[in-house]
C-alpha cells in the first residue's frame, strides 16, 4: 500500500540557473525535506577515452586539456605522468618546477572562482564580485607564462613547451603579494561574518565514514577530516621539494569545505613563491623517442581532487587504452550521503560545495581578422563606462560620485 503513494519529485536541472553544466538531480521530497536523490549525468558525453585511442601521444595533451577548462593544467599533467612512467622518462628539473608553478596558479584561480560562486549561490554577490576580481590577475599571469588564460597546452611528454622567462619572475611575485593581501582580506571577511556561519555551518554535512565509502577526493575529502592529497602522498612534478601543509577541517559541512579552499590558496601562493625562488636553470625538455609497451598511472591533484589517468601502450604511437577519472566523478555521487535529510533550500548549495567541474573558456576581446586585438581590457572598460554614462544621461539619472559614499 505504501509503495503506491506517489511521492513528490523536484527536478534540479538539466538546465538550472545555479548549475552551469548539464546535470540532472531528481529530488524526492517530503515537505521541505529531501528524502532521496537520483543523479543523471552525461548530457554532454564527448567520448574522449575512445577519441584518445585514435591520437598520437603528442596530440593527447591538447585533447585532455579540453576535458575541463578550469582543470586544463592538471589533466594533461596526470596524462604526462602516466606516459613518463611507462617510458621511464625523467624530465629536466626546470620543467618540473614550471609544471608545479602553473598547476598551483591554476589552483589559486579555481578556488577563488569557487569562493565567488559559493557567495553567488547564497545570494551574497559582494563575495562573488570580489573573488572574481581578485582572480583576474592570476589568469593574466597564466596568460603571460603560457599564452592562454585556460587550456595552457604547456606540458609535453619529456618536459614543457614554454619556459617561464626569468624577467617575468618579479612581476609574478608582485602580483602574488597583491593576490595574497586581497585573499587575506576576503578570507577574514568570510570567516568573521556571523551570517555566513549561520548559513553554511551544519549544511550538507558529509561524515568521515561516508567520505571513505564514497571515496571522495580533494577539498571534499579534506573538509571531512581525511588528509589525502596526491601532491603529498605520491609527489609528482616538484612538490616533494617544497614546504607546505595539507589543510584539513573535521566538520564536513559546506563551511568546512569553504575554509579548506580559502586556506589552500595561501599554501599555493607559498608554493609558487618557493618554486620561483628555487627555479633551477637549464633545459625544459628532453628528447623522447618512442613509448615502449607497458601500462602506467598518472595522478595529479586538481583543484577539485585527484585526477587519475591510466595508459596502456603496445609499443605503437597511440595508446591502446586511456582511462580518465576526473575528481567530480567520485565527488558527485556523495550527494546521496550529504543531501538526504536536508532542506530543499540547502540542496543547491550542497551540490555546489563539491565544486562540480564545468568549462569556463570564454573571454571577451574584439579581434580584427587581419590586425591584432583592437580592443583590449582597458579599452573595453572605457567603452563600457562611456556607454553607462551615456545611458544615465539619456534617462536622466542624477550624477553620483564615488566620494558621496
Amino acid at each position: 500500500m505504501k509503495e503506491s503513494v506517489n511521492k513528490p519529485i523536484l527536478a534540479v536541472g538539466p538546465f538550472h540557473p545555479l548549475q552551469e553544466e548539464m546535470e540532472y538531480f531528481q529530488l524526492t521530497v517530503d515537505g521541505e525535506i529531501v528524502t532521496d536523490i537520483d543523479v543523471r549525468i552525461s548530457y554532454n558525453h564527448r567520448g574522449i577515452e575512445r577519441l584518445s585511442e585514435t591520437l598520437q601521444y603528442d596530440q593527447i595533451p591538447f585533447l585532455v586539456s579540453r576535458i575541463c577548462g578550469i582543470c586544463s593544467a592538471s589533466h594533461p599533467l596526470a596524462y604526462i605522468n602516466a606516459v613518463e612512467e611507462i617510458a621511464g622518462i625523467t624530465p629536466p628539473d626546470r620543467a618540473l618546477y614550471v609544471r608545479t608553478i602553473i598547476n598551483e596558479l591554476e589552483r589559486i584561480h579555481s578556488h577563488l572562482l569557487w569562493v565567488g560562486l559559493g557567495g553567488h549561490f547564497i545570494g551574497y554577490d559582494t563575495v562573488f564580485m570580489w573573488a572574481w576580481k581578485y582572480r583576474e590577475p592570476v589568469l593574466d599571469l597564466l596568460e603571460a607564462i603560457t599564452g592562454n588564460r585556460n587550456n595552457y597546452g604547456n606540458v609535453k611528454v619529456g618536459g614543457c613547451r614554454e619556459d617561464i622567462p626569468n624577467e617575468l619572475i618579479p612581476k609574478i611575485l608582485k602580483e602574488l603579494d597583491l593576490v595574497e593581501k586581497k585573499t587575506d582580506m576576503l578570507t577574514k571577511a568570510i570567516l568573521d561574518d556571523p551570517v555566513l556561519h549561520v548559513r553554511l555551518k551544519g549544511v550538507g554535512t558529509l561524515s568521515k565514514e561516508d567520505a571513505i565509502s564514497y571515496a571522495v577526493t580533494g577539498p571534499t575529502a579534506r573538509g571531512s577530516g581525511i588528509a589525502i592529497d596526491v601532491r603529498h602522498d605520491d609527489p609528482y612534478a616538484a612538490y616533494a621539494d617544497l614546504d607546505w601543509k595539507v589543510i584539513t577541517q573535521t566538520e564536513g559541512d559546506v563551511f568546512a569545505k569553504a575554509v579548506v579552499r580559502l586556506l589552500e590558496i595561501f599554501e599555493s601562493i607559498k608554493m609558487v613563491r618557493q618554486a620561483l625562488k628555487k627555479l633551477p636553470d637549464g633545459p625544459i625538455a628532453v628528447e623522447v623517442k618512442e613509448i615502449p609497451p607497458g601500462e602506467g598511472f598518472g595522478r595529479a591533484e586538481a583543484p577539485r581532487g585527484e585526477t587519475f589517468h591510466y595508459i596502456r601502450s603496445d609499443g605503437g604511437n597511440r595508446p591502446v587504452r586511456h582511462k580518465v577519472r576526473a575528481p567530480s566523478y567520485v565527488n558527485v555521487p556523495s550527494f546521496k550521503a550529504s543531501c538526504i535529510g536536508q532542506h530543499i533550500a540547502d540542496v543547491t548549495l550542497t551540490l555546489a560545495a563539491v565544486d562540480p567541474c564545468y568549462s569556463c573558456t570564454e573571454r571577451l576581446a574584439v579581434v580584427d581578422g587581419r590586425k591584432n586585438v583592437v580592443h583590449d581590457y582597458d579599452a573595453l572598460l572605457r567603452l563600457s563606462r562611456e556607454k553607462t554614462a551615456r545611458i544615465k544621461k539619456e534617462i536622466g539619472v542624477p550624477e553620483i560620485k564615488l566620494e558621496d559614499f
Binding site: S42, R50, I212, S213, D233, G294, Y329
Partner: protein, 146 residues
C-alpha cells in the same frame, strides 16, 4: 600502512591470485580470474582500508579485463586488481558496489561501453549512453565501427 606491511598483508590472499606483479615500489598488480575479483577487492577495501580510485574496463584481444585501482594514501602506492574475463560471448563479473558505494557509476559505465554484465549491481541502468542507443552495441569494444 607502510610498504612492507602492505606487501605482507597482500601475501595473505595469494591463493586467490594468478600472480603478483610489481613494476616499481609504488605500483602493484594483483592478477586474478574474474570469479575471485570480488573477494580480492573486498579484502583490499575492508581489511586493508585502501581507497577505491576507479575501475578500468579493457577489451583485450582474447579476453576482457577489468582493473580495479586502489590507493594506499600513506605511501602513494597504487594497488591494481587485474581481473580477466575469459568468456567473450557472455562476459560477466560480480559487482563490488554492495560494499563500495563509490563503484556504482563506474560499473554502470563499464556495462554501458563494454557490455560486461555486472552481477548483483543494486542500480543497473545506463549511465553515459543516450536512452535511444541501440542494444548490444558497445562503443569501447575493439570491433565497434563508427
Amino acid at each position: 600502512m607502510n610498504q612492507e606491511e602492505l606487501n605482507n598483508r597482500l601475501s595473505e590472499i595469494k591463493d586467490k591470485l594468478i600472480n603478483i606483479e610489481q613494476t616499481k615500489d609504488s605500483r602493484i598488480f594483483l592478477l586474478c580470474e574474474a570469479e575471485n575479483s570480488f573477494a580480492v577487492s573486498k579484502f583490499l577495501f575492508e581489511d586493508l582500508a585502501l581507497r577505491f580510485m576507479i575501475a578500468t574496463g579493457i577489451d583485450s584481444e582474447d579476453c576482457f579485463e577489468i582493473l580495479y585501482h586502489f590507493s594506499n594514501d600513506g605511501t602513494g602506492c597504487v594497488v591494481t586488481v587485474k581481473a580477466f574475463i575469459r568468456d567473450r560471448e557472455n562476459p560477466s563479473i560480480e559487482s563490488i558496489t554492495p560494499f563500495i558505494p563509490a563503484a556504482e557509476w563506474i560499473e554502470r559505465e563499464i556495462y554501458d561501453i563494454l557490455g560486461i554484465e555486472i552481477k548483483n549491481h543494486p542500480n543497473m541502468r545506463r549511465l553515459i549512453l543516450a536512452d535511444d542507443w541501440p542494444e548490444g552495441v558497445y562503443p569501447l569494444r575493439k570491433d565497434f565501427k563508427r
